[in-house]
């Protein structure tokens, strides 16, 4: 079972929901933080040891002795990552998407693939939870290749909870792709409602079942709830704007531990998701 926790607007509470959902369950599960530009889950597990692996993508390297400057590689490249100059061919690493097309099609076989470090993945076992998070190397512009690698840790025979990056662009889409269900975390503000509508369009296009979790449900008006009803979107949970939650969070404490009365919000959320898969 793969459950992704996503949102349109950032800062709605995805990590809060992902963590507390994971901690409210006693089954063996995998928790993956794929917000690789800015992972947050690990902040709530201080003082644990991680196994670390470095992740590489592949970029082309051209042997100048073999290159005939024919231009086939630049012609093939969909991302304009190769430029043919009068005396040599140059590569723009940050534009390369590692498709391998140039390597395959070079008539002089002058191109080889070399590894290019894109980030790290850290993994640890915390009781029943196998937890991994990805961290993109500073300066690398594209998250999806690293997100894919973190998602290799999904165990299809277990519950997998995926804390996704916000928004609806490439990183978020890569994160939610393939999930059995996506919980969209939002709050009742105009900004969040606008971005929720974008997420809904994206998930419908991807044909992924989804429902909504309303965080800080008492701070705004009814427009968010009205929208959900008019679109027949299930509201799976509503978490109030409780100062005690903010205080616990600010101390790095998880809600289900600091405020056990909220545990049932998350166990009921899980039950509702399970029914819908």
């Amino acid at each position: 079972m793969i459950i992704s926790i996503a949102s349109g607007k950032g800062g709605t509470g995805k990590t809060t929901v992902a963590l507390n959902l994971a901690l409210s369950l006693s089954e063996n599960l995998t928790l993956l933080d794929v917000d690789v530009e800015e992972p947050n889950c690990h902040i709530f597990f201080p003082d644990i040891d991680y196994q670390e692996e470095t992740v590489y993508s592949k970029i082309p390297q051209i042997d100048e002795n073999k290159c005939t400057l024919c231009g086939k590689c630049a012609e093939v490249c969909q991302f304009n990552a190769l430029a043919i100059l009068p005396k040599k061919t140059i590569i723009f690493k940050e534009l390369c998407h590692s498709c391998g097309g140039c390597v395959l099609l070079c008539p002089a076989k002058a191109i080889t693939e070399v590894p290019h470090e894109i980030g790290t993945i850290k993994t640890s076992n915390i009781n029943n939870i196998e937890f991994s998070y990805g961290l993109l190397k500073i300066g690398i512009p594209a998250s999806p290749p690293l997100i894919k690698k973190v998602k290799d840790k999904i165990k299809l025979d277990k519950i997998n909870i995926i804390d996704c990056p916000p928004g609806t662009s490439c990183p978020a889409i890569e994160a939610v792709k393939g999930s059995d269900f996506c919980a969209l975390v939002c709050d009742p503000t105009p900004f969040s409602l606008n971005d929720l509508q974008l997420s809904v369009r994206a998930l419908r296009y991807l044909n992924i079942s989804f429902g909504v979790v309303i965080n800080r449900c008492n701070i705004g008006d009814n427009k968010l709830i009205d929208y959900c009803y008019s679109e027949t979107i299930d509201i799976l949970a509503q978490i109030p704007d409780d100062r005690k939650i903010a205080e616990a969070y600010s101390k790095g404490q998880l809600i289900v531990n600091a405020l056990p009365e909220y545990r049932k919000h998350f166990t009921e959320l899980f039950d509702k998701i399970k029914e819908r898969i």
Binding site: A74, F79, N80, A81, L82, A83, I84, L85, P86, K87, K88, I90, F92, L95
Partner: protein, 101 residues
């Protein structure tokens, strides 16, 4: 000498286009005879690497000098690697700019 200039219009009365990678046209003009060729920039809407491609296009015409407003980092890198002479920060009509060469 043959000068390549990023242009907003199709002839020498046009204003220089301050962008290089996504300019509307490239004009290749002989500074003495004022004979010129105008090419519509096919990379104006490229999602990425417009500067790289535009630089290659310009280099393929073998100009002696490139004049534009701003060069993005990848366009600049491409022109630098080729060794060609270029000037940035220019403005005004193409006709006025080439007067000095």
């Amino acid at each position: 000498m043959k000068i390549a200039i990023s242009s907003q219009g199709k002839d020498l009365t046009a204003q220089l286009d301050p962008r290089f990678g996504r300019c509307k046209y490239f004009i290749f003009v002989e500074s003495d005879s004022h004979e010129y060729e105008c090419i519509e920039n096919p990379y104006i809407n490229a999602s990425g690497g417009a500067g790289v491609q535009s630089a290659q296009l310009v280099l393929s015409k073998n100009p002696d000098l490139v004049i534009t407003g701003n060069l993005g980092p990848k366009a600049e890198s491409t022109l630098n690697s080729s060794g060609i002479k270029y000037e940035t920060g220019a403005s005004g009509s193409i006709k006025d700019i080439i007067k000095d060469y």
